[in-house]
Subunit: 223 residues, 2 copies
C-alpha cells in the first residue's frame, strides 16, 4: 500500500522548500494540490511534475460543517484509491502542514482506513514574515502567540505578554487597526510572492490585502 505524505512547501518562495519536501515530491507519482493552486505553483518552479498524476481535491469555502466534512470524506476516498493501488501521494500545502492546514482533517480519515501517513514540516508564513522584516519573533522568555483574527478569546490574547502574530487578518483589518493603535506593528502582505509588501505601523494596515501577516512585538521590548 502507498504512503500519504503531507508535504509543507513553505510560504511562497520556492527556495524555502526543504530538501526533504523536494525529495518526497520528486519520488511520489501522485500529487494532491488543494487550496487554489498556490502550493502547486510554488512546486512547479522547482520540480517538473509533468509526468505525475495530479489530484485536485475541492474544499468549499464555507462554515457549513456538513458540507466541509463531506468534502474531506470525498478527498479521502479519492486518495485511498491511489494508496490501495500502491501509489505514494504528496499532498502539498502552503506554509507548514501542522498550522491551519486542511491536511489535518484528511489525514485522520486516511489513517483510520489503515494507511500510513507521514508529515514533512516546513517554513511557516510567520517565520518568513519575520525574516523579511528582519525582526525577531521571540527573545529570551517571551511567549509567541499565533492568533487567527476569528479566535474567541482574541482580545484577551492581544492583552497578554508576548509577541502576537495575527493570521487570516483579511476582513478584520479595520477593527485591528483600532485595537493596535499606539503599538509597534509590522505586517507583510503576500509574503514570499512577487507582490510582497512590508508595513511598519498600524496606520498603514488599511491598505493590506487578505494574505497579510501582522506582527506585534511585546511592549516590554521598547523599554
Amino acid at each position: 500500500m502507498g504512503i500519504l505524505y503531507g508535504v509543507s512547501v513553505g510560504p511562497g518562495d520556492p527556495e524555502l522548500l526543504t530538501l526533504k519536501a523536494l525529495r518526497i515530491i520528486r519520488e511520489c507519482d501522485v500529487i494532491a494540490a488543494p487550496d487554489n493552486n498556490t502550493a502547486l505553483s510554488i512546486v512547479e518552479r522547482v520540480c517538473d511534475i509533468g509526468e505525475k498524476t495530479l489530484l485536485k481535491p475541492a474544499f468549499p469555502m464555507t462554515r457549513d460543517r456538513e458540507l466541509l466534512k463531506n468534502s474531506h470524506i470525498a478527498a479521502a476516498d479519492e486518495l485511498c484509491r491511489y494508496l490501495d493501488n500502491g501509489e505514494n501521494i504528496a499532498f502539498i500545502c502552503l506554509g507548514d502542514i501542522s498550522v491551519y492546514s486542511t491536511f489535518s482533517y484528511i489525514s485522520v480519515l486516511v489513517s483510520a482506513r489503515g494507511h500510513s501517513v507521514e508529515m514533512i514540516p516546513g517554513v511557516t508564513s510567520f517565520c518568513a514574515a519575520a525574516a523579511e522584516l528582519k525582526q525577531p519573533l521571540a527573545l529570551g522568555s517571551e511567549p509567541l502567540l499565533i492568533i487567527p483574527s476569528g479566535s474567541r478569546e482574541f482580545d484577551l490574547l492581544l492583552s497578554v505578554e508576548g509577541t502576537k502574530v495575527i493570521m487570516k487578518s483579511g476582513g478584520a483589518i479595520p477593527e485591528l487597526k483600532e485595537k493596535l493603535r499606539g503599538k509597534t506593528v509590522y505586517a507583510v502582505e503576500n509574503c514570499g510572492f512577487e507582490n510582497q509588501k512590508l508595513y511598519y505601523s498600524a496606520d498603514e494596515l488599511e491598505n493590506c490585502g487578505y494574505f497579510t501577516t501582522v506582527i506585534v512585538p511585546p511592549d516590554s521590548r521598547r523599554e
Copy 2:
C-alpha cells in the same frame, strides 16, 4: 562590504534545511556557528565546509546582562572584521532564526555599524515535533501559543484557549507534569536527532531531557 546572513538550519534532520539555506551556506566563505556545535553538525552532513573560515563566537550560559551584552559585542566585533573585508558570513542557528535565537542580538549590533543583514527562515522545532507526532498544531480559528517555561504569565497562558507548545521545559518538567495532569499531552525529546523519543501523556514527562518540546492541544478538540 560583506553581508551577514542569519541562516536557519532547522530542528535537527539535515534534510530539513531549505534550498535557500543550503545555497547561502555554500556561497559564504565564512561560517559562524555558536550554540555548542549542534547547528554545525547538521550543516556538515549536507555541505562540505572544509575550505571555509569557521568562527565560533562564545555566548556564556548566564543571566548576567552585562556579561551577555559583552559577549554579543565581542561577536559583532569579530563578524564586522570579516564583513569590512568584503566577506559574506553565514551565521547558522538551530530551528528558525527569529525564534529564540542569539542572532537577534548580534544582528542589531552589526546593522548599527552599517552592514547589511539578511535572515533566512527555517523549520521550527515545534513544527517538526508536530510532524513527528502526526498531530496538527492549529486548526480553524484555534490560537497557537509558544510558551517558554520561564514566561512571567505562564499559568495564564496555559489557561487560555488554544494549542500550547512549551519550550525550554527542561528544568520545569516536574512542575509541568502537575499542571498538565488530566490533559492530552504530547512531547518530543531531541526532535530530529538519532536519540529522538515521542511521549503521549503528562505522566511520561518525568523521563524527558532538556531538549523536549511539549504540545498540549486545546481541550475543545476532545469534544
